[in-house]
Symmetry: C2
Subunit: 198 residues, 2 copies
Amino acid sequence: MRKSAELRKAEIVAAVLDLADRIGPDRVTTGAAAAAVGVSQAALFRHFPTKAEMWLAVADHVAGELAIAWQRAMTGTDGPIDRVTALVGAQLGQIVSTPALPMLLFSRELNVGNEDLRAAFRGLLMKFQGLIVTELARGQTAGSLRREVAPEDAAVLLTSLVQGMAIRWSLGARNFSLIGEGKRVLEIQLRLLTGKED
Amino acid sequence: MRKSAELRKAEIVAAVLDLADRIGPDRVTTGAAAAAVGVSQAALFRHFPTKAEMWLAVADHVAGELAIAWQRAMTGTDGPIDRVTALVGAQLGQIVSTPALPMLLFSRELNVGNEDLRAAFRGLLMKFQGLIVTELARGQTAGSLRREVAPEDAAVLLTSLVQGMAIRWSLGARNFSLIGEGKRVLEIQLRLLTGKED
DNA sequence: ACCTAGTAAGTGAGCAATCACATACTTAAG
DNA sequence: CTTAAGTATGTGATTGCTCACTTACTAGGT
């Protein structure tokens, strides 16, 4: 069947993400992606000049989805601590709906000899970290975060938590709710950071 | 030059780990590993029947090194909190001396269709987690860990910290001292967990 | 008529694994 | 102590396979 290029590209990107989750990013071949979409392998190269460009499109898509989720988290909440909770929740939600995300971020496979892609993903991580630091700093001046912990260090603890939970979920046959468990542990960490004993 | 099989195997394992770090585990070909050792590609199959068996030997080596490091951490310290510090420090040290470790542990590439290897690495993670939980539980009965945090949850926070720092170090061109920064952030987290304000 | 999305059939490169053969060590007999 | 047989480690060439990417050609939409 013939479809518009835009639609096909989106289909391909979705298929690549799905395959990356199931078999690992580096095992995603052009043939496998094409078969998942239902076209010939050669058809892929109508839409992307090289496989590397295809991955860049995937990165673009992921970056867009993350930006939307972060935006929603920021506008839907008041107060720094609530915002941090929402940001972490958004991140966990994105991981659940795009389970290949941790592997894409953490596997060097894709990034070796693909500097653009590497930079794209690193930029995403740093942006998230930056949002968290900003909110924590705001929280500290408002008195809701312990004074003796630097916002940067607290942000490291929180982003590590997301990564740790994601990896645990990814490796461990996904036998628990990432969002549920993540939020539970996040609350523990936030209680430690705010000093509240509620 | 001719060498004993034992020596060669060790050389190959070391070369594989080095290559895995530099180009990514999945890009380690038998040819590349052989070249790194200085023998022909065919020679590899004198020492390992298949490439998969070669990776199992790598896993064995890594597991041995980790076990030694943990053992040293446990016997060299008294008191639960010091032991946790030493265990985390040992883990960070192993990552520095075997930088491919996080990728091996967290990348699904190698593990898909290689269930033995996957099980080997997952077992290592669980063993580490178990050691931490045990020490934290001991610390809690001794009163040095806050009562309201379950040892399992605290262990998740601590192992996540290791993973988060390792990933940050791995992605970020290694432009900081993993051990130095890791221990600094670990101390912050431990202060939060113990409730000590020293 | 003309572009656009598609295809079938390649091409060359890189891969794990095999094979026939070579050369260094080990061991046991004379 | 020498030497011949046997074994352990190594090699170059090759095989069968998969991959990204190309080329020549085709059909649907406007």
